[in-house]
């Protein structure tokens, strides 16, 4: 399998990125903040209103290094793509299926199968690891409800019913989410998902983790030649990487949620890492963001056995491998899209 390369996260505001030979140069005014060889990178994610030189953008576009610009709080601004070198044949297949509800539903069904299955196993894992800290009986009930939903998902033939079952699964799962927070209960709690803006510490972290996962997934899709902006389940909307959102459904629980929970439970973040704005929006401090990104990079290096390929890969490659498998399915090499079914 391919090697996992690094992602460069530029978090210091007003940093300018320039090309220097085969390196990216980080500049703040005239001051050089650092210099990194580009051949070790597969993506650059820049937070805050920073800029990059056209030379650097061209270099990266040629070599499939994704550059994404986000606001300081993680909202998408722009990304750089080169002359389309993607695979026209593959993309046409993707567009055709995206316009065909029946075929799109078959793929969406596997995305949602992966999502519900993985949520179920997040809960099962908790009952095994912390039987004395959580209400095991309630977890088992919810796990059973998710199993029932899985059966319905497998039998769904319309996008509408899939969405319905997905929503129902989320209701069950969210009901016990708060119990998975085992430490610092007074500062970290989950009473439901709030997104725009996140209204508590946990939601602020979840939003950030989903943003990172979406960027990683979008970059992976583009790498294998797919169009991250044309989805099967999420509808096209300007600026929305719909296919990335589709594909990351199955990874939200096992990748992002578990990551956020572990930061809280290992006390790697504390209440002082958050600020509340006048409107009730909760933001992570710059310091917290750095901690978060560092831990995210470390998580990416951890290895796991891919359930379908049976090969050892790093967590960071999971979005890439799933993109590859999706491409293989679209090309007709596989009978179905194999979701990442974790245990």
């Amino acid at each position: 399998m391919r090697k996992l390369l690094n992602t460069l996260y530029v978090t210091q505001p007003d940093t300018y990125l320039a090309l220097d030979g085969d390196n990216v140069l980080l500049l703040k005014g005239d001051e050089k903040l650092g210099r990194l060889p580009l051949h070790n990178l597969e993506a650059i994610i820049s937070f805050g209103y920073t800029g990059a030189s056209p030379a650097l953008m061209g270099y990266c576009a040629d070599r499939n290094i994704a550059i994404t610009f986000l606001t300081q709080s993680g909202r998408f601004l722009a990304r750089v793509i080169g002359e389309s070198r993607g695979n026209v044949v593959l993309r046409k297949t993707q567009y055709r299926i995206s316009d065909n509800e029946e075929e799109a539903t078959k793929i969406a069904r596997n995305f949602i199968t992966g999502k519900v299955y993985n949520h179920k196993w997040v809960l099962e894992r908790m009952t095994r690891d912390y039987p004395l800290r959580i209400d095991v009986e309630q977890f088992k009930i919810v796990s059973g409800q998710l199993s029932d939903i899985l059966r319905e998902v497998r039998n769904s033939v319309s996008m509408e019913s899939l969405r319905g079952w997905e929503g129902q699964a989320a209701v069950y799962y969210n009901r016990v989410f708060d119990q998975m927070i085992l430490q610092q209960k007074e500062d970290f709690f989950f009473h439901g998902r709030s997104r725009r803006p996140p209204k508590d510490n946990v939601n602020a972290m979840l939003s950030f983790a989903y943003t990172l996962l979406a960027k990683d997934t979008a970059a992976a899709l583009e790498t294998v030649g797919l169009d991250a902006y044309v989805g099967f389940m999420h509808q096209d909307r300007p600026g929305r990487a719909s296919l990335a959102l589709d594909l990351m459904e199955e990874l939200r629980g096992i990748y992002a949620d578990r990551f956020v929970l572990s930061l809280i439970n290992r006390k790697e973040v504390t209440a002082s890492d958050f600020v509340t704005k006048e409107n009730g929006a909760v933001l992570m401090t710059d310091e917290a963001r750095k901690t978060f990104l560092k831990a995210w990079q470390t998580k990416k290096q951890e290895s796991i056995t891919h359930p379908y390929l049976g090969e050892k890969i790093s967590w960071g490659l999971v979005p890439y491998v799933q993109s590859l498998l999706l491409a293989r399915f679209l090309r007709g090499d596989l009978d179905e899209y194999p979701p990442f079914l974790w245990k």
């Binding site: 695979n87 044949v89 390929l309 293989r328 090499d333 179905e336 079914l341």
Partner: protein, 219 residues
């Protein structure tokens, strides 16, 4: 409808990929997937010298032309000859703007050493056929220069080889028209393939996804 024939032409250099593995050829030439790796970079490096368009060199009875664009209507292929040598010969053909008659010899430059398979020879034969068509002459012999042994070997352009080229070109066009990337038998040669991360050869032996999902859900 006006059909521009040349739009249908495929890259002659694809023959070597096709001979190595049909799937590799399709991934590169139909799907335009290309992984930069040591092999391709080395290849570019080596080609640099041979890659100066229309540079002519004259050495007594010999005229050397580098990077000559070539094509064949019959094969519907086009490409570039690394080097074409014209050697003065009374049985040869005349060249525009040059005195005398010449015999035509394509020379292909390769990284590495002579391979077990035919891929290099096939490509050379196709170049010879293009040259024949474009210059209305007969090309009986070509050369392949191998960088690792710093030595060129002589290749007779046999009828059998020509038939093989014709057949392969036809097959390539057939896949291309259907935009079809074939599944193939994988093998130890996959280890030397620059596209294995895109192709994922071991996927071709995997059990069905349906049984994978059912298996997991049933546990």
């Amino acid at each position: 409808m006006v059909v521009n024939d040349e739009d249908r032409y495929l890259m002659l250099s694809g023959l070597q990929h096709f001979q190595f593995c049909k799937r590799q050829w399709a991934l590169i030439h139909i799907e335009q997937q290309w992984e930069e790796n040591v092999r391709t970079i080395e290849g570019q490096h080596l080609h640099h010298k041979a890659d100066q368009p229309f540079l002519k060199e004259k050495r007594r009875d010999k005229l050397i032309v580098r990077a000559m664009p070539i094509q064949s209507k019959e094969l519907q292929l086009s490409g570039t000859c690394d080097v074409v040598e014209f050697i003065q010969d009374p049985d040869g053909v005349g060249l525009a703007g040059v005195e005398g008659t010449y015999k035509v010899y394509p020379v292909e430059y390769k990284r590495g050493k002579p391979k077990k398979g035919d891929e290099d020879v096939i490509q050379l034969a196709a170049q010879a056929m293009c040259l024949e068509e474009m210059m209305l002459c007969r090309v009986d012999t070509g050369y392949i220069f191998y960088n690792e042994i710093k030595h060129r070997i002589e290749v007779p352009i046999s009828d059998m080889l020509r038939d093989q080229v014709k057949q392969m070109a036809a097959e390539m066009h057939h896949y291309y028209d259907k935009r079809h990337t074939p599944k193939v038998k994988t093998g130890p040669f996959c280890k030397n393939c620059s596209l294995q991360h895109i192709c994922v050869p071991n996927l071709m032996h995997k059990r069905s996804v349906q049984s994978y999902i059912e298996g997991r859900l049933g546990e």
